[in-house]
Amino acid sequence: MAIQRRRFLAALGGGATAALAGCTAFGQDESGPEVAGETLTLTTTTSTYDTGLLDELNAPFQDMYGVTVDAVAQGTGQALETARAGDSDVVMVHARSLEDEFMQEGYGVNRRDLMFNDFVIVGPEGDPAGIEGTESATEAFATIADAGETFVSRGDNSGTHTKELAIWEAAGVEPGGDWYQETGQGMGEVLNIANQQGGYTLSDRGTYLSQRAESDLVILVQGPIEGGPELLANPYGIMAVNPAVHDNVNYDLAMAYIGYITSPEGQRRIEEYTANGEQLFFPEALSEDPDFQQYVPEGWSADDEG
């Protein structure tokens, strides 16, 4: 249950908090940049938060720098919107098209690929639409639509919702009608609703796995981690809010956070994090060869200026 992480983290954090209390007051962190005592506001998607990964990453970062991370869990769309308003310093999301838009508009800088997991299509064990064994996500979606079986959509402009809409589009289906339910809620809630209604939904693997204990839903179409279609890939990126647009943002601390989370240590923590005995996220920042594409929004060219 979600509770064990609290227990663990509180044990971990208890001593650290006491140490910190002294540390921050005098700014004793000699080696680090001058950020001790400051607060970083991170907006992120519910999946990183609800799986417990964020606590796992943030506690050591806070100790290392003597800072506080205020993590606000929103959908990807809302998280980017909060960052656009300059109300957060760094944003960690999973919808490349929305991230590119954010970068192109000049709100974000220094985008880094962070990690990935994948999406899975889940549904009731009985599988009334009969999509189990389907190799293609678009085919599975089309089958659900044809059968008119309940499909529960996030409907909240989140990263998962963006992906879902992309799959419907690729499947050539305009979702709508009685069988298609937009909830406007987080992934966890949508899984609950799908579970209650015996419906299908698209879920990130992490949230599904961390919640599997409370649900009867099963994976019917796998994502690329288990050999499923590449369309179901779910890459996460992290960006600092551009200090040239919002001079109130804590850019130094944002970059320290991005540096930490893409460092070997941060990546190791991502790799080692499990829920119900399964790895939820796969690190992607460490790479043999430089991947410049991660900094550059797709389709970025001189023509796009102005």
């Binding site: 979600a2 606000v72 809620q185 961390s210």
Partner: protein, 237 residues
């Protein structure tokens, strides 16, 4: 594990949180709601006395506005406060977004109308003879007001409780302006009991949510009991 223990014992034996997490959430809930109710009361009671005992053009309109405010949708309040405190908003320079102060602001907007409205009903319900007597005995306007407040104390206590009830049970607006933030060390910054319940329900941890819900109920009942007791204190004992 308390194998074989009755269910009730099991629930408490396996209390599913670090106490620091829960106490900090309760602290934030109480701090935000009580601060908001206290500030609202400071505005509400003088307003209720003023509106109740003076005649002025537009009095009915003011009363109507107060009564309408009681039903003002809380998420709209949250949204408006967010716009105000966001870095782009008029109060942006103070950096209030995702803080307890922003939550208090939205709670004040929510709690003031019920406290004012119910207090208004209470003070206008005080018999005119009480005021006349106080005035006849040479009381200043303040003395008269105090006598009226004393007479109406049960109604005013009800008003404050209604305001507190609205504030502590609020989810939507505090989620929008507060961000439901708890540190990785398990200490709440802007997480309240209600937003924690929302979070646990989102994660499918309904039993954990239920425990928090029970705590919220106990908290509300305790505060109500204390206020009722204080209301009685003057005369009944």
């Amino acid at each position: 594990m308390l194998a074989g223990a009755p269910d009730a014992v099991l629930v408490f034996g396996e209390f599913p949180f670090e106490s620091q997490y829960v106490t900090s959430i309760i602290q934030v809930s109480l701090y935000v709601s009580l601060a908001a109710v206290a500030l609202s009361t400071l505005v509400s009671i003088p307003t209720a006395l003023l509106v109740g005992f003076t005649d002025f053009p537009g009095k009915r309109l003011v009363t109507a506005v107060i009564n309408t405010g009681m039903g003002f949708p809380s998420v709209v309040v949250g949204l408006l406060v967010l716009f105000a405190v966001s870095n782009q908003g008029p109060l942006g320079e103070f950096g209030l977004v995702f803080t307890k102060e922003a939550m208090i602001m939205s709670q004040i907007v929510l709690a003031t109308p019920p406290i004012t409205g119910i207090s208004l009903a209470a003070v206008t319900g005080v018999d005119d003879s009480v005021r006349d007597a106080a005035r006849a005995l040479g009381g200043t306007r303040l003395d008269v007001a105090l006598v009226v407040v004393k007479e109406a104390r049960y109604g005013i206590a009800t008003a404050i409780l209604a305001g507190f009830g609205r504030a502590i049970s609020e989810v939507g607006s505090v989620l929008i302006v507060g961000g439901n933030i708890a540190g990785a060390d398990g200490v709440s910054k802007t997480r309240t009991l209600t937003t924690a319940i929302q979070l646990e329900a989102r994660q499918g941890s309904y039993d954990t949510a239920m425990v928090l819900g029970a705590l919220l109920l106990v908290l509300v009942l305790t505060v109500n009991a204390v206020v009722v007791r204080l209301g009685d204190g003057g005369t009944l004992r």
